[in-house]
Amino acid sequence: MSIRVDGVSKSFGAFKALDNVSLDVPQGTLLALLGPSGSGKTTLLRIIAGLEWPDSGRIEEDGTDITDRHARQRDVGFVFQHYALFRHMSVFENIAFGMRVRKAPQAEVKARVDELLHLVRLDNLGSRKPAQLSGGQRQRVALARALAIRPRILLLDEPFGALDAKVRVELRQWLRRLHDEIGMTTVFVTHDQEEAFELADDVVVMNEGHVEQRGKPDEVFDKPASPFVMDFLGNVNVYHGRVENGLAFWHGVPIHYPDYPHAQAREARVYLRPHELDIARAPSGSASEAHAGTSLAATVLRQTRTGPITRITCQPRQGGSDLHVDLPSAAARELGLQPGESVSITPRHVRVFLPDPEYVI
């Protein structure tokens, strides 16, 4: 079942939680809603589910306007941010709830719950209370409970947020397989970009109640549509620079930038990702000079290794904030830089954003 969100706004008092949000989710898509805390992800999900009402705008399922339809009639399975399991009911009764309130026959309920318990690998835990389960198990009960009513849309609000890293990775791969098997339209909220990029067909980045960017994970990562997205995706070096005549200048280093062919110079922000920078030991002798115009002279401050990646922190020779360069750890070891050494840094790729009246820092 496809979902269309059309110009939805929602305020809580004077606070605009959603501002004219539109979104298309084609049948069978696994879509990730990514955004910082308070950006309106939960609110949007609840409006799609019919648990919250929009002030304006429409929600459609398969082209039918369901804005006024009650949550009960929406065919939506919802997994809540903190699971919201019924804590006085057993795991079995939690999963059975949706069928019980629909007055399904006992035999059918039993069969379906057993099937779901098996699906989420909790076969022997039906009689436990939620308080007696680990986080990952609770998560799977919440999922089974939502699936029990055979929804055609599955909405998950930070499904793996409270789990430790290992369980999280396993569960999300499992969710991806489950989604592919059942073929439901699925929207899940996360503020973990890795999760969004690994799991989703499509990524939507939200900020302050509106959609910043929508696209395939690769697109969003490689071509962030706004400074916000770039910042949010994180790990980025940001500098004030200027653009003129098809060039962007970063610490005086010219970088090809055809988007701005005008002669008049403008202030701009230059974004460099740590993994898109080349670093080399500066040729001795000319160390104090900026290297042949295309790279930046800097001094190594320290190296930090996190698993396969080593981050080298450098201080640009002309001053300004520190610059991070990420290298594969093997390459970093081979290079063997020491603190205090002079290096030259060459960007392979930069992003430049001109100040935008809408984006005021």
Binding site: G77, R87, G135, D164, E170, W174
Partner: protein, 300 residues
């Protein structure tokens, strides 16, 4: 000092002993002694006389029966009102909400006698609604409906006050989950909300019942003190006492005191349950950081 640090808490210093003695003396003098003397006086002529004082005096019998009707009625009204009001306050934000919450406390700060008089001013024959009630031939003041009203008024905060913090702590998520699974309003209430608040509700009900049984001031004003008609147990105790029938008075008083003790036991038991539940709630909120032995199979 060679003793373990926790011995400090057993207070053997002179000041500590003095404080303990003071507390024991106060509790003994103000609580244990009067309560004991009620039972001693009630049974001073033997259990038979006690029973006859309660069962063979028609006015006393009526007073007991009236109390056992009025108090549960008031508690019932309180329960329905308390649940609805707590739900409104805990689940919705609206203008005037905090004013409403402070209004719930008015019965605690107003003297019961004043409350009774206020009811007379509204429902009495000369009162605001007097003509209407007379026309409908409904008698409120000097009749049992007035007793119910007065008792409800003085016990009003007990249930709602008990429920608001509990419902706020539980949060709306489970109710939303129930709705998203297809439950209608009643199903959400009976299957999710009520089981979650049941101990807090029971706690409020027990407290309200104890207060309702013992209420004197407000009921005194609206009852008109008519023996065999509008006298409740506390009013009967007072009347018998005024008539120098102390043993009979104490017999009725002993029933009230026994009810109070029963309430105390129930209260302790319920509070234990509440504590367990709030711990469970905390555990349910805590991230399940513990290792999860069953996820292993998912990766393959």
């Amino acid at each position: 000092m060679t003793s373990k640090p926790r011995d400090a808490a057993t207070a053997t210093s002179p000041l500590g002993l003095l404080l303990i003695a003071g507390a024991v003396a106060t509790v003994g003098l103000l609580i244990v002694a009067p309560l004991t003397s009620v039972f001693v006086d009630a049974f001073s002529n033997g259990p038979r006389a006690w029973w006859e004082a309660l069962a063979h005096d028609p006015d006393t019998r009526h007073a007991i029966w009236l109390s056992l009707t009025v108090a549960p009625l008031a508690v019932l009204i309180n329960t329905v009102f308390g649940v609805a009001a707590a739900w409104l306050v805990a689940r919705f934000r609206f203008p005037g909400r905090s004013l409403l919450v402070s209004l719930f406390d008015v019965p605690f700060s107003v003297s019961p006698v004043v409350a009774g008089l206020a009811l007379v001013l509204i429902f009495g024959r000369q009162g605001l609604l007097g003509p209407t009630l007379t026309a409908l031939a409904v008698k409120v003041i000097f009749a049992w409906p007035g007793l119910v009203l007065a008792t409800t008024f003085v016990t009003l905060p007990l249930v709602v006050r008990e429920l608001i913090p509990v419902m706020e702590a539980i949060g709306p998520e489970e109710e939303m989950a129930a709705v998203s699974l297809g439950a209608n309003g009643w199903q959400v209430f009976w299957r999710v909300t009520l089981p979650n608040i049941r101990w807090a509700l029971l706690h409020g009900v027990v407290l309200a019942n104890a207060r309702a049984m013992g209420e004197f001031g407000a009921v005194y004003v609206v009852s008109g003190h008519i023996a065999g008609t509008t006298d409740t147990m506390p009013l009967r105790v007072e009347k018998l006492f005024q008539e120098y029938r102390t043993p009979a008075s104490m017999a009725v008083a002993s029933v009230l005191a026994a009810l109070a003790l029963l309430t105390l036991v129930a209260k302790v038991f319920i509070e234990r349950q509440l504590e367990t539940e709030s711990k469970e709630l905390e555990a349910a909120r805590a991230p399940g950081a513990d290792t999860d032995p069953t996820t292993g199979g998912l990766g393959s």
